[in-house]
């Protein structure tokens, strides 16, 4: 068996293996789908910003996209969460300690949404500079702590703070 011989339906290669033309084309098509998907995702990431959200500082410096939806992320400012009278609307501030953005959102908040915890809101800035959010996600950190350990840490922290006040 020397060169490739092509029959109507099959290809017999030099190594003698037979694969029907249909099966081969199917695999080529499948492979192409994945390669095209990869290229599309990469180009999309390079074109639009790969950043998932802008910080409040970015927003205040007009670095966030103007006139269209984007995401702002940071920490929920302590004491800023206010529930609307309808029960579903919530007002809060997102901060990166340098700047703050006011957010209003109507809908269900994730369980992990809490003051002084991470948040990512998607929506648009309205004419008054308030961020009208259509989606609010909680962003959690990379720490995993058992409740008792956290309680002990909090106690130690309180004790140290009390000590410093005394001095």
């Amino acid at each position: 068996m020397s060169a490739e011989q092509e029959t109507t339906q099959e290809t017999v290669t030099a190594s003698g293996s037979i694969k029907s033309r249909h099966k081969r084309f199917l695999w080529i098509a499948v492979g192409l789908v994945f390669v095209v998907a990869i290229v599309a995702l990469v180009l999309n990431a390079l074109g639009s910003s790969i950043t998932y959200f802008y910080s409040p500082t970015d927003v205040m410096q007009n670095k966030a996209p103007q006139g269209r939806a984007f995401r702002v992320g940071g920490m929920v400012e302590g004491g800023s969460v206010v529930r609307g009278t309808d029960g579903l609307t919530v007002y809060f501030n997102v901060t990166d300690t340098a700047e703050t953005v006011s957010v209003v959102y109507t809908g269900i908040l994730p369980d992990l949404f809490a003051e002084e915890k991470g948040v990512v809101a998607q929506g648009k800035l309205d004419d008054h500079g308030v961020f009208q959010a259509t989606q609010v996600l909680a962003k959690h950190d990379e720490n995993y702590v058992a409740p008792e350990v956290q309680a002990a840490l909090d106690e130690a922290h309180k004790a140290r703070a009390a000590e410093t006040l005394k001095q």
């Binding site: 290809t11 290669t13 030099a14 190594s15 293996s17 694969k19 099966k23 081969r24 695999w27 080529i28 499948v30 492979g31 994945f34 390669v35 998907a37 990869i38 995702l41 990469v42 990431a45 790969i50 950043t51 998932y52 959200f53 802008y54 910080s55 992320g73 908040l109 994730p110 369980d111 992990l112 949404f113 915890k117 990512v120 989606q135 609010v136 996600l137 909680a138 962003k139 959690h140 950190d141 990379e142 720490n143 995993y144 702590v145 058992a146 409740p147 008792e148 350990v149 956290q150």
Partner: protein
């Protein structure tokens, strides 16, 4: 120089056969211990409560998805550089397991994201690059099946594997380089921001996944060796081949 005798498919076939049971049994034992710790012994997390327990599957799968890809790319490079059949077969044997680990990482990540972040998916840099990794694995597998000549398939798959390997550091550093929804690394050089028991369970599961991957990859490698060396005299002499119907 005696190590080089295992560089031939015939010798490595028997060596791999001896290695498989050890890695399989170790993987099983570690999995039982890891699952016991992860699902029962380890306490809840103060923030995420029980939902964090998905970490014991998600992180090992994600780490293996990246590690296996680098190993596969390494053997692909060896195949291109040294032109040895066994190097190419090693790369070929890894791809399906790598794809499985990547798919599992994405699936478990989605199930962890919904109760915590509030969404199954987000197109942030971490998740998007891991999805690209899955497509790379599947593309390599498709390429393998599309090309008849095994040696040409070896070359094409090695090239695609090497082109895609830049994605692995991107996946790993994405949470540092860009704003992402996915949090940063819990286990960093010399420091881990996780309770001791949780960390123990995590490390046990990482090794369980690693030894499982080695075992199943070696079994697949033996199948690939038989497929590609069929017709060789040493294959015909194998007991398991003679006993086959």
């Amino acid at each position: 120089m005696s190590g080089f005798k295992y560089a031939a498919p015939a010798q490595f076939y028997s060596l791999a056969g001896k290695m498989v049971p050890w890695f399989a049994v170790l993987a099983a034992i570690l999995a039982v211990i890891g699952l016991a710790i992860g699902l029962y012994v380890a306490p809840i997390d103060v923030t995420q409560k029980d939902s964090y327990r998905i970490i014991f599957i998600h992180v090992p799968a994600a780490w293996m998805s990246m590690f296996l890809y680098v190993v596969m790319a390494f053997w692909g490079a060896m195949a291109l550089g040294l032109n040895t059949r066994l190097s190419a077969m090693m790369a070929q044997s890894i791809a399906p397991t790598g794809a499985l680990m990547t798919a599992l990482a994405l699936w478990t990540g989605a199930l962890w994201g919904k109760p915590t972040w509030g969404t199954y998916w987000a197109w942030d840099a971490r998740m998007t690059s891991e999805l690209i990794l899955l497509f790379l694995y599947l593309g390599i597998i498709a390429l393998r099946n599309a090309i008849d000549d095994p040696r040409r398939a070896d070359k094409a798959c090695s090239v695609l594997a090497l082109v895609g390997v830049v994605n692995v550091p991107i996946i790993y550093y994405s949470v540092n380089w860009w704003n992402t929804l996915h949090q940063g690394a819990t286990i960093k050089m010399g420091k881990a921001s996780i309770d001791d028991i949780m960390l123990a369970g995590l490390l046990v599961m990482v090794f369980a996944f690693w030894f499982y991957s080695i075992a199943v990859t070696l079994v697949r490698l033996r199948a690939i060796i038989l497929e590609r060396e069929a017709g060789a005299a040493w294959v015909a002499r194998l007991a398991e081949v003679k006993e086959e119907r």
